[in-house]
Amino acid sequence: MPCWTAVFLLAMTNNSTSDVLLPATIREQFACLREGGSQPPLVYLDSASTALKPDGVIAALTDYYRNMPANIHRGLYPMSEAATAAFEAARATVQKFINARESREIIFTSGATDAINLVARGFGDGLRAGDEVLITGLEHHANIVPWQLLRERRGIVLRVVAMDAQGDVPLDAFRAALNGRTRLVAFTAISNALGTELPVAEMIESAHAVGATTVVDAAQAVACRRVDVQKWNCDFLAFSGHKLFGPTGIGVLYAREALLQAMPPVKGGGDMILSVTFERTTYNELPHKFEAGTPPIAQAIGLGVATEWVTALGFDQIEAHERVLVDAALKQLEALPGVQIIGRPGKRRSIISFTLDGIHPHDVGTILGEDGVAIRAGHHCAQPAMEHFGIPATIRASFSVYNTLADVKALIVGLRRVQEIML
């Protein structure tokens, strides 16, 4: 190839940042982003809290409630069979989505929090006093408090590997915290407070080397990168549907089949049993053993549709899109006087936490809200992480598939107005 061609290609890739953005027509699928959807037009920069839902997901919920609103796993009539088939098809879709070996390794829960609590009960209650559970300084409260409750129940030792000044959890520090008593290691793949991405596969390998079982909190990860439980080789993985463009009230616990077989059920009720007498109950097989009662049927079906929707967008495109937005936002935030970026992780996903000198994040949130700019202000359910930086709260902007460079611009313009009002 003549070198001018190479230069030409390079030039093309260099100034074609807009080419790697997903088409803005995606926005047409979200009611509150459409023309006339909200007044003022919504600049939604809070997808790390919950993602907006595309029409297809909402249609799937409506379809269930309109056309097959029957309970599952019990009715013998066609509508119940249709609902059961749709529910179990959603499980198979989720299985493929995270590349689990078997669909019975997918337990539907009410969310990531519920999934982690299920591990803390089902697996954690099998631990003994003195056994160690290791988490990181970056965790969401959902991956801290269940282990503190377990400590109260079982006398386990809860250890925390701190993050460094950048907001990373250094691998060597993580490895140094592992020892022969470490039974369980639970950590987030991506920090919701700082955007840090952890080296999941390496951490799991090290944890396994000391014989520990691993829990990955993938609540933030599932919407912005490919998650492959076999590649990561994790033992448990938890996420919520609502951060993945799906409904609220549904989440997933993935677990290796052998672990699920060994675990006792955590909740008792209908659907999780094969037979019940007052003397004795035989538990149902996987995954139903862990799904007592009528599950969130519509929500599970909606989650299946959401995972197919994200998969169709393609994670290569999603990652490239969010990279453009987060890089642009970082650059423009840094150029704004008074902005302090909180956390400088080596690998950042589409979340930026920052503060404005002299202005409380909540005042920023209220004023930006008036401009239609939705950001999160607070401690992001990660108070220990905030404490690490010696601040009570940050402003957090998070970017997703439907955001554009115009949204980044609106954030910056809004922050300037905040400064004009408050300073």
Binding site: H360, P361, D363, G369, G378, M386, P392, I421, M422
Partner: protein, 158 residues
Amino acid sequence: MSVTDEIYQDLILHHSRRPRHYGPLPDATHAAAGDNPLCGDRYEVRLRLDEKSIIRDAAFEGSGCAISKASASLMLDTVIGLSRDEFEELFRTFHALVSGETPSPEAVAQLGKLAALSGIWKYPARVKCAILCWHAVHSALAGQAHASSEEEFASNSL
């Protein structure tokens, strides 16, 4: 109406940038901390009561948002000279006002400049900012060392 008319008016901004009664109160007889773990707001309120239980002096210190700071500044300005019962009466009126109720014109008149915070009710997440230091004064007068906005707002946390 915009957020600058309803909340961030000049009076509020002025009191948040340069709060009155801000600092220590060496001869305090009563004190309480007020904190809102959700926002990370944290204040210490100190009072000096005379033998007839009249608030003779008051001061606050700490950090938080513009609303909590301005509300504390304006409130302390108003409560000096009040008895405990008079404070509680004023607190009830203020609470009603920032919750979107319409107290009687006479009651509102007693609030004076504090009426500037009346627009807060349209921003439910911020009401607890406006009343944080009021809770602290209430606790201090009741002999409790600590007030948390979450006790009252626990049900809508997170």
